[in-house]
């Protein structure tokens, strides 16, 4: 059986702007039917990566292939198969969404605007008002419809939920899951960690223009340190937990000890077994904590 062609595959993709940093040696792939989160704070290189994939900017070095096609040479053929929501979506103040949709449909060689009406109802988007008269969130809905109405094989979404209210964010996450289920690949750039945690299969963490980690979401969260709060009948000797190499942030208050621990927890459990444990609570960290931890760790390193 032939290997499945990646929707996106980059190899040491690099973009430099003179002395200014863009992205450096970015290598990753996104498979069809996968939601890939691209995480990083503003200025980390997320948008530069997206613009390079779309051939809006040209790489200084390295390659990007989408559907097995070269991002530069085959840019037009690639764009026929993808949908893109730019980070700061705009189209012109006087243009209504419906007009923009009709233009995009004609440019894509599609008769009519496909499922745009259905999506407009779902997102409660007004297709007939000029974009300049819409709030940022309502403009963003039009952008989402423009990116998805033609059922693309690859969706590239740059900060897609910025401006959307919580209800519409839920609807958006449901749409992303549906797109994945029908086999589309989704490349989602975001600093909204909650949405990434809920919908992404894998995440890449970008920092200072470099991709510092690519992990399955479950692995990323699994590797992270968990927070334990333990109530002991008698706290005497509990201080010994502090000396264990797996334990950090140790605090003792009355009969209650709290600490974070990661990796192999056998030593922690053995130490606690020497006490009468009244209650124990373990909290998995959010992606936000993992993400911030990743940044702190790297900066310290």
């Amino acid at each position: 059986m032939a290997a499945e062609t990646a929707a996106i595959e980059t190899e040491a993709l690099t973009k430099r702007y003179g002395k200014h940093r863009g992205i450096e040696d970015v290598t990753f792939s996104v498979r069809p039917g996968e939601v890939f989160g691209f995480l990083g704070p503003n200025g980390a290189g997320k948008t530069t990566t997206i613009r390079t994939l779309l051939d809006l900017i040209h790489p200084t070095a390295g390659t990007a292939r989408l559907f097995g096609l070269d991002s530069r040479r085959d840019s037009v053929a690639i764009r026929a198969r993808l949908g893109n929501l730019p980070g700061d979506f705009g189209f012109g103040r006087e243009t209504p969404g419906r007009q923009a949709l009709h233009l995009l449909a004609r440019l894509r060689g599609i008769d009519g605007i496909g499922r745009a009406e259905e999506l407009a109802q779902r997102f409660r988007a007004d297709l007939d008002r000029p974009l300049g008269q819409l709030s940022r969130g309502n403009r963003q809905k039009i952008g989402l419809i423009l990116a998805t109405f033609h059922r693309p094989e690859l969706l590239i979404l740059d900060e897609p939920t910025s401006g959307l209210d919580p209800l519409m964010q839920e609807e958006f996450l449901a749409l992303v899951a549906e797109e994945r289920d029908r086999g589309a690949a989704v490349f989602l750039s975001s600093h909204e960690l909650d949405e990434v945690q809920r919908v992404c299969d894998r995440v890449g963490i970008v920092r200072g223009g470099r991709l510092v980690a690519v992990e399955r979401m479950a692995d990323l969260l699994g590797k992270a340190r968990r927070r334990f709060t333990v109530e002991l009948a008698d706290p005497a000797g509990a201080e010994r937990l502090r000396s264990l190499p797996e334990v950090a942030d140790f605090e003792l208050a009355g009969n209650r000890v709290s600490f974070s621990a990661g990796g192999d927890l056998d030593a922690v459990v053995r130490e606690l077994a020497g006490h009468h444990v009244v209650d124990i609570e373990a909290t998995h960290p959010s992606l936000e904590e993992v993400f911030l931890g990743y940044y702190d760790e790297r900066e310290a390193g």
């Binding site: 702007y17 948008t47 530069t48 613009r51 779309l54 051939d55 809006l56 900017i57 040209h58 840019s75 037009v76 053929a77 764009r79 026929a80 993808l82 949908g83 893109n84 730019p86 980070g87 700061d88 979506f89 705009g90 189209f91 012109g92 103040r93 006087e94 243009t95 007009q99 923009a100 233009l103 995009l104 004609r106 440019l107 894509r108 060689g109 952008g143 423009l146 990116a147």
Partner: protein, 263 residues
Amino acid sequence: MSRQLGALVATHLFDRRRSVWAWGIPLGLMSAFIVAIFPSVESSISKAVEGYPQGLKEAFGIGELSNVEQYLHAEMLSLIVPLALGYLAVRAVASGLTGAAEAGRLDVLLSAPVSRTRLVAAGFLATAVELALVLLVTGALTGIGSLLSGAGLAAGPAIEGFANVWPLALLFAGLGIVAAGFSLRTSVVTGSVAGALVAMYVLDLVGRLDPDLSGVRYLSVFKYYGNAIEEGIDPLAFAGVTLVACLLAAVGAWLFERRDLAA
């Protein structure tokens, strides 16, 4: 014309529909006014012109002002209409490229399977149509002014006079595309090309005033502009300037294809 190109040109024209009236009506009303007052100022103007220095008359292309066509050329077609249309041309072409980039539209359009060259071609073609429409409105209002005032403006020469502005203005659209190959800022593109427009006019003027400097006129498109309302359109100059405008657009498209469209 391909479906994509047609869609882009139609959209560009729709977006700039107001510009046809915003530029055509004021220029047309001004021309109509010039034509309409000619019968009442004819004798005094002729006397005044006789007193002008010869160099001044040559510099501004003022010959005899014994008929309304000559007066229309001197007052409108030798300076105001070409400069206005040249500036309109660069604004129009910039709106489809740098303006679209600033509004975020370019990113959306280039998410579709459209080449940048096609986008540039659409902007250039739409600008060519827009210029023709503005000239049509201006010419039509001028004709109406002549009819109402009984100035007797001859239709054929007037049409040639206004039509002759089209390739000159289109050349500045071509220059605008070249400028967009270097900068995506509308102010830079319109400013630099408007500067070139004025500089070319001044070079032509200097070349006319000083025979020793007549060579500098070759740097200016105004050398090839002439006086079509009196002498008819020079087909070679008309075709040549149009061709240069197209070549500039092609060079601009080549530059635009290769540049980064940075956020």
